[in-house]
């Protein structure tokens, strides 16, 4: 027993060490955001800012266009996620509950799109959007994100729908409802948590993309590390909060098919 305990303690030490290494960049970002410029520029790092300052956050928030950016991202993300969820849910129902000719083709399409390297489509998307003068417009951005979000939404929702016990749905059908009726009354409420989880995940994906884009469009290389870390912290906060809320469900949704397969 004691040998076993000793071994477990040794693994625990390894576990804590790995935790420290993995978490360090996140810690360093947040801690830097609260430091004064003197501490940031010093040769010897300050680990914990004992006198935290909010000046970098103030500077980040006072930047011109900050609130415009926030407004635009929220619009883009909300529209994208809403459209994606409606379309993906319908397709996921078809995939998980029906066999039909062309089903395999559809799966290949969904998975194929998911795997296309984003860089590979930059050029045609740019050229096409330029033709319709949609480059840098919100519609253009929404269209582009939709392609990024749809495939995995379909796949993940499919996992959630499969997770619903078949008996429930069959019971509804015995009661004389049609298949569609059974979906609406039984399936929809049961799959609601999955729907929420998937849409939050879609939100995170498109939010991350949007951040990428805005950084990308304004590529001036700053070395005001304090402001940069404060801005980074602010950017990460909504993602982290949402992610923590849904993480368990999404891990299930993503792996349900794989593990059971």
């Amino acid at each position: 027993m004691s040998v076993r305990n000793a071994r477990r303690n040794a693994w625990n030490v390894v576990g804590v060490a790995i935790f420290v290494v993995m978490i360090f960049p996140v810690f360093w970002m947040v801690s830097t955001a609260f430091k004064s410029d003197d501490q940031i520029n010093a040769l010897t790092p300050t680990w914990f800012p004992l006198h935290p300052t909010l000046e970098h956050f103030r500077a980040a928030l006072a930047k011109p266009y900050f609130w415009d950016d926030v407004k635009n991202s929220v619009i883009v993300v909300l529209v994208t996620v809403t459209i994606a969820m409606v379309l993906a849910f319908l397709a996921a129902v078809a995939l998980s509950k029906y066999r039909f000719t062309g089903r395999k083709l559809f799966i290949v399409l969904v998975i194929g799109v998911q795997m296309l390297p984003g860089a590979g489509l930059i050029i045609p998307l740019y050229v096409v959007l330029a033709r319709y003068h949609e480059v840098n417009t919100l519609t253009g951005v929404i269209l582009v994100y939709l392609t990024g979000v749809l495939p995995f939404s379909v796949w993940t929702l499919r996992g959630f729908i499969l997770g619903i016990p078949k008996d429930l749905e069959e019971a509804a059908m015995v009661d004389g409802s049609t298949r569609l009726g059974a979906f609406a009354r039984i399936l929809l409420p049961l799959v609601a948590p999955g729907l929420v989880a998937t849409s939050v995940f879609a939100f995170i994906t498109s939010w991350n993309e949007y951040v990428w884009l805005s950084y990308f469009l304004g590529t001036s290389r700053q070395t005001d590390w304090g402001a940069l870390m404060a801005a980074s912290t602010l950017t990460a906060i909504p993602v982290v909060v949402f992610f923590l809320l849904i993480q368990r469900r999404i891990a299930f949704g993503l792996t349900a098919g794989a593990v059971r397969g």
């Binding site: 360093w28 029906y98 489509l121 990460a236």
Partner: protein, 317 residues
């Protein structure tokens, strides 16, 4: 498969030809149609125009006129005769292999570690992993830039303090190798949480009785691992590996932003960057489109295994 075979005939046997049933047969198509239409519109047309542009001379002039000049396969010809393309392809393959190897080996190790540690450490470690998972890549790039900067980066400080050598004002961005090495640390760090948590989920499916029975039979622990654990998690490992290959082959954001546009040279190109520089920065969209198509073909070839696997999973059960 077996259960699907049992349930579907029940449906078809009852089916008589009425318009109502025809309508029901159309239901799945109606459900799938919106996604197909949207993806077709957003992707189908660009893919079509990708091929068109690849066969055209298409620069800034043509972009303004919205019309390219047909030049046949000349773009492909020039790419395939460009030694930079072949060097970049080789570099990207080595880069992706390194990243995938590190991610999968460390990821499997961490997942196995999660099984062996006390609950409080497990909760601590998984929360940390989830936090890392949720970091937007662009934010992570900025944090990396700040940690490895040569003036007073915390990485140099820690390495020097731990007596790994004198890293005072060491420039991690000096050679293409060290630049890509830093990109690797960033990517592996960011990829680990998903991999670890997924493998851990698979590990929890390993029947405990089986492991215990094997142990009682006197099997050594690595034999138990090979014979009982590995077969259970193999499908998940396969999927994760193929996904990682696809992601790491197409890496763009992290590499481009971490190395930084001014420092991007042909000696540190990855495929995604090569494509971007040739097509977008040099405004040679025709050549860029040709490179995209070559990349898509390579990725498609690599993903056959993954797609077949997903098709099996995708069968109605």
């Amino acid at each position: 498969m077996a259960s699907a075979a049992e349930t579907t005939p029940k449906w078809s046997r009852r089916r008589r030809f009425t318009w109502r049933h025809v309508g029901q047969g159309a239901v799945p198509y109606a459900l799938v149609a919106p996604v197909v239409v949207v993806m077709g519109a957003i992707l189908g047309y660009p893919l079509y125009s990708l091929v068109r542009i690849a066969l055209d001379r298409y620069g800034l002039t043509e972009l303004i006129q919205h019309k390219g000049v047909y030049i046949g396969l000349k773009n492909f010809d020039s790419v395939l005769h460009d030694s930079v393309f072949w060097h970049t392809l080789l570099r990207t393959i080595v880069f992706a292999a390194t990243n995938v190897g590190l991610t999968m080996v460390i990821g499997t190790f961490l997942a196995l570690l999660l099984v062996r540690i006390s609950t409080w450490v497990r909760v601590l470690l998984t929360s940390g992993l989830v936090l890392v998972w949720s970091m937007p890549p662009v934010v992570a790039v900025q944090v990396w830039n700040w940690m490895i900067n040569s003036e007073n980066g915390v990485l140099n400080y820690i390495l020097t303090e731990l007596h790994f050598g004198n890293y005072f004002q060491h420039n991690w961005m000096q050679t293409p190798l060290s630049q890509l090495g830093m990109v690797t640390t960033l990517i592996v760090w960011g990829a680990l949480p998903f991999v670890v948590i997924t493998i851990y989920a698979a590990l929890s499916q390993v029947p405990r009785e089986l492991v215990e029975a094997a142990e009682i039979d006197g099997a050594r622990s690595w034999r138990v691992f090979l014979d009982v654990t590995v077969p259970v998690i193999t499908p998940v490992l396969l999927i994760l590996t193929s996904l990682s290959i696809l992601w790491d082959f197409g890496v763009f954001t992290q590499a481009y932003l971490l190395i930084g546009q001014p420092h991007i040279i042909s000696a540190n190109y990855l495929m995604g960057i090569y494509l971007f520089e040739q097509g977008y920065v040099n405004a040679n969209f025709g050549v860029g489109a040709a490179i995209s198509i070559l990349m898509l073909v390579i990725v498609a070839a690599m993903s056959v295994v993954y797609v077949r696997r997903m098709l099996r999973i995708g069968d109605v059960t």
